[in-house]
Amino acid sequence: MDNKKEKRWIEIIKKKKAIVFILLSTIFTSFGQIFWKWGVNQTDYFWIISGFVFYFIAASLMVISFKFGELSVVYPIIGTSYIWVSFLSLIFLNESMNLLKWLGVFFILVGVSLVARK
């Protein structure tokens, strides 16, 4: 009995670790996109390179999260990057969103979540 409970607890902790790592990864990806846009707007190589650095960090965090969790758990969280990028663009890039764009983001999020399922 105790053995089963312990195994389940270990699985839950692994899942939580996977989610934490992929969440961090997604945040780095999203900010990396903002940096890239800043960088290409003014051809500012500091921000372009910073974007690549953040992307590299995001990729590393993602690889770690795959060690802990299944794709079907990780991909939906990767999908939320489309939401973060939309909000960050509103704040930092002065871009605008509309209903069609938000609908599109929603469908992409659902699609990305489903694409990893068997």
């Binding site: 060690k67 663009s89 969103m97 764009k101």
Partner: protein, 116 residues
């Protein structure tokens, strides 16, 4: 806009292919410090890295002219290509759910293009 879409299709195709060959390169790797150094000697991983860089540069060139909220969602096409590549080259089956996912991603991209 047509040019933008074509360039994003090209960029995501290259990126998706890069992911595939990087995956092929990691299949034989173990996670240990010495294996990590060997990453740079792994032809598949290095090639994948270069392809990824090319896809990123195309993306950046297009990003100069377009809004991020319009362009970034196109990146999700990468998942569509990986899906199709896996079916073709890795003999993975595309289930109904995967087709549904592909449809939703494309639908999302169409909506965002309409909302531009």
């Amino acid at each position: 806009m047509i040019l933008t879409i074509i360039l994003m299709i090209v960029s995501t195709l290259i990126g998706g292919f890069a992911a595939l060959i990087i995956k092929k390169g990691t299949l034989k790797l173990e996670i240990s410090f010495w294996e990590t150094i060997k990453v740079f000697k792994n032809h598949w991983i290095v090639s994948g890295g270069i392809l990824y860089l090319i896809s990123a540069i195309i993306y950046l060139l297009v990003l100069r002219k377009e809004d991020l909220t319009f362009l970034y969602p196109f990146a999700s096409l990468t998942y569509v290509w990986v899906c199709l590549f896996s079916a073709r080259f890795l003999k993975e089956k595309i289930t109904f759910i995967r087709w549904l996912a592909v449809f939703l991603i494309v639908l999302g991209i169409v909506l965002i293009s309409l909302g531009r």
